[in-house]
Structures are given as structure tokens and as C-alpha cells.
Symmetry: C2
Subunit: 203 residues, 2 copies
DNA sequence: ATTTATTTTGACCAACCGGTAAAAAAGAAC
DNA sequence: GTTCTTTTTTACCGGTTGGTCAAAATAAAT
């Protein structure tokens, strides 16, 4: 709407989105309340509703931002690069996102587990398209003998599930590893796994 | 308490747990309501509360049952069997559970994503212990040269995350695969992955 | 058939839910 | 320093929440 945002608007919009991310990622949409978000943002509930028309609007704004960040790494895969290196780099980027943006990962997980009522269309639209392209690239790499044969969809699912696991199931991971930081080990394991999975010459 | 349950108690307890599983697995604890569960169980809300003292009690009863089923497959791993076969069989059992009990998987996922407020102790207790034993077995297999070296914890995380992914992110998987049943392909991929990961003689 | 134990219902409650209306307070522009 | 706009607060609304209570209806035991 308005091109210029007041410094107050700028600050409070950011505070609300930050608070919404905290709350929604922990309790899901239906489990979260405006009072919770308002309190965490340091605002009164009516004041919160002055910036975002509804609880739904906050949630949608967060998901819109999230989906951009979420899909971005897949666009940086170079179909003319070295296949194993490209796939490994992609997986590592996804793992880094789990490490640095665990709340975003959990927000996404909550939404999808609950049937993706808000982002279902995006999943069946843009996500499906962009995955389709990646699948095509992987199939080409296989035909050209550059990587060992795999079912591309399930390879992608493996990468997604493993990397997101460290954010979404953080409590469980830390229950088992105690004080050990999971991420260095996870990265090494992921690299090793993809190498053994995909590399033609097994070292 | 009472050793013998009436046929009515038997029927209604089951109906309530079934309804609770449906609702809690879809909306999480805080996002679910007693009215929803009561309606789905075909009872009035006060009648529901006659069988379970509180919303919390239903949720806990479900989680208790779930945790048993969840941990059971890991106990069937034979440390004296063929390592790759044992691990692969375990992974396939977990995948079958995702296929046949997706709501249980999502209930568990919801609980853990939200910080495991109810089952945190079990994760840090029994789960940690039983995983520790499996980790020991895998390390022994590696030292005996029966499988290629891997970090056991992260291998286990990989198996968990991949198999649960097909239940928890079902909507996303189907958005991409459309009408293709994910599970046959998933099983083949999982077997191939573990074989390339772990087998000494790469075929 | 009557006593007794179990099950179900309807009416209700205080707290909380998402959201509104209007007026007061604070900032910005001049 | 006064006008005008933006921001915040106070008071409130109808609906829903988890849960209670006592009475009614049903089932079981004798």
C-alpha cells in the first residue's frame, strides 16, 4: 500500500512477525493465540490488530516470506556443474537453513503436517514445478553416466527429510546426543551418504 | 483400577482414543478441542469427560500407547545377525509403520516439534538408552569390518527422518508425486541407499 | 421386580478466544 | 503551538474453551 513505512510501523511490523514466528512455530496456527503473540511482541492485542488485520494475516505473511526462502536454494543448483558437488552443496545449504532458521523449519513442518491448509496450492504448483525440473536434471545426469542410478524424487525427499529433521526434531536429537552439537556430524554424514549414493567411482 | 471393563467402557474408551488420535494428530494438543473429539467419538462432552478425566488424560493415554509401538521395532534388531540385513529390515519396518500408522507418526511429530512437553523424559530416558545400545552394536559391526564406517547416531537419524517423512509430510509428497503411491519407490530407494552406504562389497 | 451401579444428559460456569469501537495519547508537519 | 495524522489504550462483544454438577436414564445383579 503505502510506499514509505513509518519507523514505528517498521519496528512493530518486524516485532509482530518475529513474535508470530516464535509462537506459531511452537504451537501451530490453531494452538496459537493473539494474546500470546501480542505479549511476545510487547504490544496490546488491539494494537497488534492495528498492524495486521487478523491472526490469519500474520500467519500468511510469515508463510509467504518462508516459502521464498525455502525454495530459493533449489534455484541455485547449476545443471551444468558437477552433479555430486551440486547435489551435496544443495543438501548442505538446506542443512545450514535448519541450523540457522529452525523456527522457520518448524513453522513449515507444522503447516504441512496439519495438511497444508494454507500452502497446499503452492506445494502443488510452484514446488511441484521446480522439483520437476530438478528431477529432469538428475535423470539426465544418470543417463550421461555422471552419477549412479537413483529414483530422483526419493533422493530429494531424503535430503529434505534428513536436513529438516535436525530442526524439527531438535529436542529428540539433543535428547540422544546430549551436549554434542549435531550439525558438524550431520554435515559429514550427509556428504558421505551422498558420495556413496551417487559417485560413480566409490572411494 | 478395575480389572474388568464393561463392554460399554471398552467400546467408548476405544472410540475416544480413536477420535483423539484423529484430532490430536491433525491439530496438535493445543489446537484440538474436547468438542471436536467428543463429536468424532459420537459422545457428548460431559460423557467424554466421564471416561477420561481431562483433555490431557486422553492425550497422555495416546502417547503412552504410541511410545510402546514406536520403540518396539528397535528391540527386534539382532546384534548377531547380518548387519546390513538387520539395519535394512529395521528401516523397512519403520517405513511400514509410516505407511500403516500415519496418524500415530504425525501425533508423535507434533509432540516433538512442539518441544516434547509430555514425552521429553522418555526421550532422554528409554529412547536414549535403547539408541545407545544400537549405536554400540553398529560400532562393533564397523570395527569387525562388517559394514563401512558411518557415524551411528546420524545413520539412525537418517532412517528415522526418511521413513517418518512419508507420513508426516504426506501432503507434500503427494503434491509432488501426484497419483503415484510413494511407498514402493520409497522402500526400494531406502534399501538401495542403505546398501550403498553400508555394504563392504559395492555391487 | 426392585435394588444398585453405571452411563448419559442438560444446564451451566468462569476463563479465554478473535476481533471491534471509540476515544485518548503521541508524533509529525507547518 | 496548533493542526492533522498516526498510534495506543480502554472497554467491550458474542462465541468457544475445558470442565462441573445434579439429575435423569439405562443397565446389571438379585
Amino acid at each position: 500500500m503505502s510506499k514509505t513505512q513509518t519507523r514505528i510501523q517498521l519496528k512493530n511490523n518486524a516485532a509482530i512477525l518475529a513474535a508470530g514466528l516464535n509462537v506459531f512455530s511452537q504451537f501451530g496456527f490453531r494452538g496459537s493465540t493473539l494474546d500470546q503473540i501480542a505479549k511476545e511482541a510487547g504490544l496490546s492485542k488491539p494494537n497488534l490488530i492495528y498492524y495486521f488485520a487478523s491472526k490469519d494475516a500474520i500467519y500468511r505473511a510469515l508463510l509467504d516470506q518462508l516459502l521464498e526462502d525455502w525454495l530459493e536454494p533449489i534455484y541455485t543448483i547449476d545443471e551444468d556443474g558437477d552433479p555430486v558437488a551440486e547435489i551435496t552443496a544443495y543438501a548442505k545449504r538446506k542443512l545450514a537453513m535448519s541450523q540457522h532458521y529452525p523456527r522457520e523449519s518448524r513453522l513449515f513442518a507444522n503447516e504441512v503436517i496439519q495438511g497444508a491448509p494454507q500452502i497446499g496450492d503452492t506445494l502443488r504448483g510452484e514446488l511441484r514445478r521446480v522439483v520437476g525440473r530438478l528431477v529432469g536434471a538428475i535423470e539426465r545426469w544418470i543417463q550421461e553416466g555422471k552419477i549412479r542410478p537413483v529414483e530422483p524424487h526419493h533422493l530429494i525427499f531424503s535430503i529434505w527429510s534428513i536436513t529438516q529433521h535436525y530442526a524439527d526434531f531438535d529436542v529428540q536429537v539433543r535428547a540422544i546426543l546430549k551436549d554434542t552439537d549435531p550439525f558438524p556430524g550431520a554435515e559429514t554424514h550427509l556428504e558421505e551418504m551422498l558420495h556413496r549414493m551417487l559417485s560413480i567411482d566409490t572411494g
